[in-house]
């Protein structure tokens, strides 16, 4: 019997969508159209020279493919804002609560494959199975309507990576450097223009709706794309993270606590690893009174690195040792128990924890230590 799930994962969508090309000038013109009709999020170079995802007002704002490897922060905040309003409450004449949703139509331009794979991870988690085609067999469990609304309203134009950055290890995490699925359009820089792959029905609609900007790719361009994809994989350093053995040891509980103790002594409890991680999504819930008779309920990013994360009624803190918190973090990222739930492990190899952690505790280092212990 044919396995339908297998088919979904391996077939290109739509099969006859073709591969297209667009010139740089035409892409600029197309972007101008998008900017007028929706919020366009793109990589933007900030004052300090760092590239971040930010809403753009003009095509001039965009940091182009060759100017950055990846943004310092993942585009997570456009789906799970650092502070998100859940609803408004007021006390006029009894309690009244009014839902608040973000209905903004968005496009994320220039998102990298690792971050797209992180979104797919979050889709499964927040959608409770309802958004991800990788688990069509499961009933959605408590789907998160705030996340789902944002995600459904966001069009994804991904940029394949032909040149990895110094901290990148997506090849070890099945999360790059190019996407096979889960995008609307995927652009790859070739010669003076871009090759455009189509990953969804709405991606194809954009092409057909703006056909004068595109033309079907010539055979030599398709060959060139295949060559670039092949070469990109070979550009990664040898010192990559070998996840599978680490996953096995974490799953079986065979990692000696001395490792977490050693790392715990270095950890500063800053929570930076969680904030820059594109798959970390724990949050706290906080009411903010805005006036005498009302206010908002918000959820704000939280981190399992913080001691207060496991505080219970009466003040007891359940994971009061830093070693327990680190162990928890990497169990969540690497254990097979979680891989079963999320259909992949919790790291996409973006390398941001390497850049961010002051104490030099990061995924490749931990994977290596667990493997060699």
């Amino acid at each position: 019997m044919k396995n339908s799930k297998f088919e979904i994962r391996n077939s290109k969508f739509p099969p006859d969508a073709g591969i297209w090309t667009i010139t740089k000038d035409n892409l600029f013109a197309l972007m101008d159209v998008f900017i007028k009709t929706r919020e366009v999020i793109a990589p933007v170079q900030g004052h300090g020279g760092e590239v971040i995802f930010y809403p753009i007002e003009s095509i001039e704002d965009v940091a182009w493919d060759w100017q950055y490897v990846n943004a310092v922060l993942p585009p997570k905040r456009f789906f799970l804002p650092q502070t998100e309003i859940m609803f408004e409450y007021s006390f006029d004449n009894g309690c009244r609560i009014t839902p608040r949703y973000d209905d903004q139509v968005r496009m994320i331009f220039g998102i990298r494959p690792c971050d797209v794979n992180a979104l797919v991870f979050l889709d499964r988690f927040f959608g409770g199975g309802s958004l991800s085609k990788k688990a069509p067999d499961q009933e959605p469990l408590f789907p998160d309507s705030h996340y789902i609304k944002r995600r459904a309203n966001t069009f994804i134009i991904a940029f394949g990576c032909h040149q990895p950055g110094e901290n990148c290890f997506c090849v070890c995490c099945e999360a790059g450097p190019f996407l096979e699925e889960d995008y609307d359009l995927q652009l790859t820089c070739i010669n003076e223009g871009y090759v455009v792959e189509v990953g969804s029905a709405r991606g194809l609609k954009i092409i057909y709706g703006n056909e004068h900007f595109f033309r079907l790719a010539w055979a030599n361009e398709v060959q060139e794309l295949a060559r670039i994809k092949h070469d990109a994989v070979n550009k990664f350093k040898d010192t990559c993270a070998y996840m599978s053995k680490a996953i096995r040891r974490v799953t079986e509980g065979k990692v000696d606590d001395s490792l977490w103790e050693k790392l715990g002594e270095r950890c500063f409890d800053c929570g930076g690893c969680s904030y820059v991680c594109p798959t970390c999504c724990c949050y706290n819930v906080v009411d903010v009174p805005l006036a005498q008779k009302g206010g908002i309920r918000t959820r704000i990013w939280d981190s399992c690195a913080f001691a207060g994360f496991t505080r219970i009624a009466g003040g007891e803190i359940l994971r009061s040792d830093k070693k327990d918190r680190l162990k928890r973090r990497f169990f969540h990222k690497l254990s097979y128990q979680y891989i079963q739930k999320n259909k992949r492990h919790g790291c996409v190899g973006c390398g941001r924890c390497i850049t961010t952690c002051l104490a030099d505790i990061n995924m490749p280092l931990v994977v290596d230590a667990v493997r060699k212990q």
Partner: protein, 287 residues
Amino acid sequence: MKDVYFPDIAIIDNIRDETGDVRTFTMRFKDPAIQESLSYRSGQFFEVSIFGVGEMPISITSTPSRKGFFQLSVKNVGLVSAALHSLPPGSQVGIRGPFGNGFHYEKVFGKDLLFVGGGIGLAPLRSLINNVLDNRKNFGRIAILYGARTPGDLVFKDEFKVWQNKPDVTMLVTVDRGDESLSRACPPAAGESREWTGNVGVVTTLLPKVQIETESTIAFVCGPPVMIPFVIKDLLRLGFTDDTIITTLERHMKCGVGKCGHCCIGHKYVCVDGPVFSYREMKAMME
């Protein structure tokens, strides 16, 4: 799609002081249709909102076998519980839920039941006890063992007599210290005499005082985290197995729907996979 984070409004109809710092709130949903369609299991919990202060998970202490209202017993220990305690009858609060797995009591039909409660831990057990007593013919003998720090810390005192007088129910109560003046929560008024003549000692000292056929009995244990390991140890010694000891875990679930991450133990979310676990499940949780 229903927004799982959006509370419904409930009205506090009645407030009863259980101890100096525990109050039982009888509530109903403002919308009669929501109250009408409410169904829950003993052992499940609600997320209770005091708007402007926050939200807290509270186990349901009323039994699903009695309709038209629900009850929450809350100890005044933090910001939100203090805010709830300050509300007069008629006030409105937000309620989400019910969440969690609850006790699957239909799985223990025909069994003898042993309840071991400590302090405010009797709240979720009370829901199950009343549910069992309302469906009495489905169960064998029942023993209820309950301990609290001092006589002033005993909750649901009015119901002890009701339970004791039911056929085939043994109810034993003990306190750690009989001396009332030690109670921080509820010191006796000047000149008031509240002499304790009952059992003194931790709740496990009651176990030898009841007759238990361990092969046909399921034990439900709920109490402060310090109590549970001692009770489990004694139950295992009596012949209970990992599968016949059922207990609950306490975490501060912020969302109740397995998203916020605060209640994770290993790969289990206490708010979705729990808070009720057998001792076997508890042991299997890595951490």
